[in-house]
């Protein structure tokens, strides 16, 4: 079942951030901005930290594998929703990709300190709810939910 993100009357904040695929020099800029934004909103440090980590791992994935991507950030009264949608090769086998240690990363990604098959596993473990879907040849979509009251 695909969970959709819709604006409700509970929505406190909503914005989108573009990620450039392949540009490692910029990898992390979006996550750094989102982190400081959430911090400014006065969310608890642990909530900000979880959001920042899942956002950063997702951003690294987009930069590493996709042509481009977008992060849709929605802050509601009770949750922070981080949806990352990319245009790229997609993920042929999601179960395999979710396995800790499984990776298709090249040398360049590994040189940056990533690509050890930990990313999706980290995202899943830091999210209070996680949904992933992909169409091969088109791209992938990740939806991370972080509860504001931990």
């Amino acid at each position: 079942m695909k969970i959709t993100v819709s604006e409700t009357e509970n929505t406190l904040y909503r914005d989108s951030f573009e990620i450039e695929g392949g540009n490692f020099n910029k990898a992390g800029i979006v996550s750094t901005s989102i982190k400081s934004l959430l911090k400014q909103m006065g969310l608890a440090a642990e909530v900000v930290r979880k959001c920042a980590i899942v956002c950063y791992e997702s951003e690294i994935n987009v930069v590493s594998y996709a042509r481009k991507g977008v992060v849709n950030l929605t802050v509601n009264a009770e949750t922070v929703l981080i949806e990352v949608v990319d245009e790229g090769p997609g993920i042929p086998n999601i179960d395999l990709a979710m396995q800790q240690g499984y990776s298709t990363a090249d040398q360049k990604i590994r040189e940056m300190g990533f690509g050890a098959g930990m990313g999706l596993h980290n995202i899943n473990s830091y999210s209070d709810a996680f949904d992933i879907s992909s169409e091969v040849g088109k791209g992938a979509r990740l939806l991370m939910t972080i509860n504001i009251k931990q």
């Binding site: 020099n25 992390g28 440090a45 950063y56 791992e57 800790q100 300190g113 930990m118 980290n122 473990s125």
Partner: protein, 124 residues
């Protein structure tokens, strides 16, 4: 201990953050794999690493790492240094290898930000 004590123990050179040497630190995490750092490191810890690219600074920012100690005499690029300045993250470099860096800090009271990982899990 203070970051200045860390500097003395490791005979380290301060690349960025001379003004933050009075920062109090109690814990550390050491790894070259940033995903492991993201999985395990706690806010306020020292990050000991041999990786010198800008993702080290980004990772430290995401996690609220107190300071980064580059080991094995690694020198960061200008880009990495500029990002550390921008994000106000102290960056030090020591000639000690990772094992020695960790050992010397541990002997003086710095502990790991966790002792062991839980069964087949990165957290929770």
């Amino acid at each position: 201990m203070k970051l200045n004590d860390v500097k003395i123990i490791l005979d380290a050179e301060v690349i960025v953050g001379e003004e933050h040497l009075d920062l109090e630190v109690k814990t550390a995490f050491g790894a070259d794999l940033m995903s492991d750092v993201l999985a395990f490191a706690k806010a306020g810890s020292l990050l000991l690493t041999g990786l010198t690219n800008s993702q080290v600074i980004r990772t430290a920012n995401i996690l609220d790492i107190a300071a980064i100690i580059l080991v094995r005499g690694k020198k960061p690029s200008t880009e990495t240094i500029n990002l550390a300045k921008e994000l106000k993250i102290p960056l030090l470099t020591t000639k000690y290898i990772l094992f020695e860096t960790a050992g010397r800090l541990y002997a003086k009271g710095i502990v790991g930000c966790l002792e062991k990982v839980e069964n087949n899990s990165v957290r929770n």
